[in-house]
């Protein structure tokens, strides 16, 4: 149990630092940045206390917000995906999830990709809607959401592939 807490604390700090110091300054093609800090939320243990999980996600978002001076946009987006995660899990993994036996290290690649893609798209859409905060710029919101999501999905999948433990 302690090792799980340690791993996740470590992951929280590393992902947050990596996000604010490196990944938010990529500005690919001028404005495209990935936000793979939400990998923390995506890979959070399945058997969890829902309240603590949502609180931690809020805290993670707020940390990113503090560094990037973005008000509460990351906090709002993170807490939303933490809230809807169980439904998306059920949708993408189906029966495996229902039996409470699945682990992220040994699921099918296809369903993992679906799971990541859906949550990342939702997160980025909320993020950019709140950041731009102007409904007349819906095209800009969708464009940013799409490009950043592709970037984030690639980074998240790569990270999980590189750091997966081979049994």
């Amino acid at each position: 149990m302690n090792s799980i807490i340690f791993t996740h604390t470590f992951r929280f700090i590393i992902l947050a630092l990596l996000q604010v110091l490196v990944l938010s300054h990529i500005n690919f093609l001028g404005y495209i940045n990935p936000y793979p800090y939400i990998l923390f939320i995506l890979l959070y243990p399945l058997k969890n206390n829902r309240v603590i999980f949502i609180l931690i996600s809020f805290l993670l978002g707020l940390t990113i917000d503090t560094f990037l001076d973005s008000g509460g946009v990351h906090a709002a987006a993170s807490v939303s995906i933490a809230f809807i995660r169980p439904f998306i899990l059920k949708f993408s993994f189906g029966a495996v999830y229902d039996h409470q036996t699945m682990k992220f290290s040994n699921v099918e690649f296809g369903s993992k990709l679906t799971y990541f893609a859906i949550l990342i798209l939702i997160h980025h859409f909320i993020l950019f809607s709140l950041e731009i905060f102007n409904f007349s710029k819906i095209i800009l919101i969708l464009q940013n959401t799409l490009f950043s999501s592709i970037f984030t999905i690639i980074l998240c999948i790569l990270t999980t592939v590189i750091f997966s433990r081979r049994n």
């Binding site: 630092l17 604010v20 110091l21 938010s24 500005n27 001028g30 404005y31 940045n33 309240v51 949502i54 609180l55 809020f58 978002g61 707020l62 917000d65 503090t66 560094f67 990037l68 001076d69 973005s70 008000g71 509460g72 946009v73 906090a75 709002a76 807490v79 939303s80 933490a82 809230f83 709140l130 950041e131 731009i132 905060f133 710029k137 800009l140």
Partner: protein, 259 residues
């Protein structure tokens, strides 16, 4: 329930960050994020020393040419001995966090209340306008960049005195927009735009950029002018903070008149 509570809390922070000078808690001018950015910047500033040196040299060159071509004003006698003639005080600072790809960009400087920096001081770079100080902590200050959709700065044409507000439409970090210039103003592509000195923040004649293109707004009475900035907002390092020592007096006077 908890979700709704936290989401609305985050939403409130967001709304606050969109209204000028309202965001109270969440900003990077605290000791933790400021400290981390500062130590990272200590290391990374070595990487672009060469370009920054060139920039500073250019500025020195410009200042020298002004100094040596200046007519003698020192020998004139001041009638009022308490009035020194300088109401603007400049102090140097370093940008330790730059940002230009969001729609509300905020910079972080390594000077704060300890260096008597306060809200609403102006920030300029050797080449032109940068922004206005927003939040300050003991050692750090955040700056609302001109690349921020909530920023409004008074600017004018250099060759005539027509003035308007400088805003940003959130698209390109090289172009800002000047609105409310009346249709009657003579404007040509390539003309220089400077600060107007009509606010208590910036002195007059700080260069901003040149006219890139212009068109009439929907009411057909005012121009919307796209301005290409002199500053490269994507690589800022050394900047100057401007304090207007008369700002309190001016603001008090304006408030009195309005009441």
């Amino acid at each position: 329930m908890l979700y709704l509570l936290l989401f609305s809390l985050a939403f409130v922070f967001t709304i606050q960050s969109h209204s000028y000078h309202k965001s109270k808690f969440i900003n990077s001018a605290n000791f933790l994020s400021g400290g981390i950015y500062n130590s990272i910047n200590d290391a990374s500033e070595y990487l672009n020393l060469r370009t920054q040196n060139t920039l500073l040299q250019e500025e020195n060159n410009q200042l020298k040419s002004i100094l040596f071509n200046k007519t003698d004003t020192i020998s004139k006698t001041f009638i009022d001995s308490t009035y020194s003639g300088t109401s603007y005080k400049f102090s140097p600072a370093v940008v330790i966090k730059n940002s230009y790809s969001l729609s509300n960009n905020v910079l972080l400087l390594n000077k704060g209340r300890r260096d008597s920096i306060q809200q609403d001081f102006g920030v300029v770079s050797p080449k032109g306008l940068v922004g206005i100080v927003d939040k300050t902590s003991k050692k750090y200050a955040t700056v609302i960049s001109i690349l921020n959709t909530s920023s409004r700065i008074s600017a004018q044409l250099k060759k005539s005195n027509h003035f308007g507000s400088l805003i940003w439409n959130g698209k390109s970090p090289y172009l800002v927009q000047l609105t409310e210039i009346p249709k009657i103003a003579p404007i040509v592509v390539g003309d220089t735009i400077i600060t107007s000195g009509r606010s208590s923040i910036f002195p007059k004649n700080i260069p901003i950029g040149t006219i890139d293109s212009f068109n009439l707004d929907t009411s057909q009475n005012y121009y919307v002018i796209h301005i290409r900035l002199f500053n490269d907002m994507t690589s800022l390092e050394h900047v100057y903070i401007i304090e207007n020592k008369d700002a309190n007096e001016i603001n008090a006077l304006i408030n009195n008149t309005n009441e």
